[in-house]
Symmetry: C2
């Protein structure tokens, strides 16, 4: 119930984008056996200010207790509910190259509310082979998957030059949410949501820290030279 | 020069984390032939408020021109410089399973200032085989890579149960920046920066939008029923 309410309330997109980051931080804390966390600690783990964290969580109706903070398990559940992760979302992965195979085998999806119902490829020599316990299906099965398996999200793991064609087929079959791993921009109707994964994003953040470190070293050298 | 200045100034971590998102949005705009962008448009493409965008960019000394906005190419260059992407960062990928192979072949790294100098695996039957034009090297080559190739960033693409061991070896060899694709938490010294990639994060954001869509449909049904 509260999930629907949260979803229908307009949570700002920027807040929605941070919820998975909080959820990941909470999962890490839970893995370490930590049961309570202050907003300052959780904010630091997620890389945001504690004021922003509190504002984001207030959209879910979650408020920490002064001096106690948040219960890790409870907050993780509330965020999961708001994100719609307490139900299983049927997902199909398209493109059985190395990335598609890695995604099909990725254990993180199942534990986060995603059920890989099918893997597909347009290459007839791959169709029928088994990847991570799934027989690879042909692209022509998309309509059936949407109708019978309620396929909600298509994951594109093809090379860039096939991605638009795959997106068109997903849209034609009725899929309205696409996760694009191919390094290209997709052209889709306005009612289709596309998220593009750029695997170099995190490397770029690391590069910034490496550079700052080099900068600090250079500065020290200069100071020594003076 | 300005890069060093920017890096030495304390740009807040949350702003640093958004710079790659702006850079990705700018790259998409440039690919579509767009040369100027308003702060509102760029903010919308990156999923933040325009006030936050302007604040983040002000840390770089970048200010849009009223009524004109930002030059796409110039702002992309300024962000790249601030992130340290105008030099090539030597990267090694460890673990040549499907994900490691996909990352080794990922074209997005090279165009974003990262040079994959080596791919490694602990499995002797894989060492010496060729992945994406690299001969797979043994883990014992890490010291040499740091000394001779100035290896700066290690990418862990192993299963979860090997990831800590690989991290320990990277740290022992002198690597201070680690990108972890394995679904586990790493224990490293304080001066080592670890970024964890959770491939389900973007799926979670899509799930939210799917749920909101379902919620809207349900709401309509209820209203019809009334």
């Amino acid at each position: 119930m509260s999930a629907d309410v949260a979803a229908r309330r307009g949570i700002p997109d920027a807040s929605v984008a941070r919820l998975p980051v909080y959820l990941q931080a909470l999962t890490s804390l839970a893995e370490r056996g930590i049961t309570n966390v202050s907003s300052e600690e959780l904010a630091a783990a997620a890389g945001v200010s504690s004021a922003k964290l509190r504002k984001d969580l207030s959209h879910l109706g979650s408020y920490g207790v002064r001096g106690v903070g948040y219960e890790v398990d409870r907050l993780a559940f509330e965020i999961s509910t708001a994100l719609g992760l307490t139900q299983d979302w049927p997902v199909a992965i398209i493109g059985m190259g190395n990335l598609g195979r890695a995604l099909a085998a990725y254990s993180g999806f199942a534990t986060r509310g995603f059920n890989v119902v099918a893997v597909l490829d347009h290459d007839e020599s791959i169709v029928g082979t088994v990847v991570a316990d799934h027989a690879v299906r042909p692209m022509s099965d998309l309509d059936t998957l949407v109708r019978e398996d309620k396929l909600a999200i298509g994951v594109i793991a093809t090379p860039a030059d096939s991605a638009q064609d795959v997106a068109d087929r997903l849209v034609a079959a009725g899929v309205r949410s696409i996760l694009n791993f191919a390094p290209c921009v997709l052209d889709v109707p306005d009612d289709v949501v596309v998220r593009k994964v750029d695997m170099s994003t995190e490397l770029q953040i690391l590069a910034f820290h490496e550079q700052r470190r080099s900068g600090e070293l250079d500065l020290t050298d200069e100071e020594v030279a003076l």
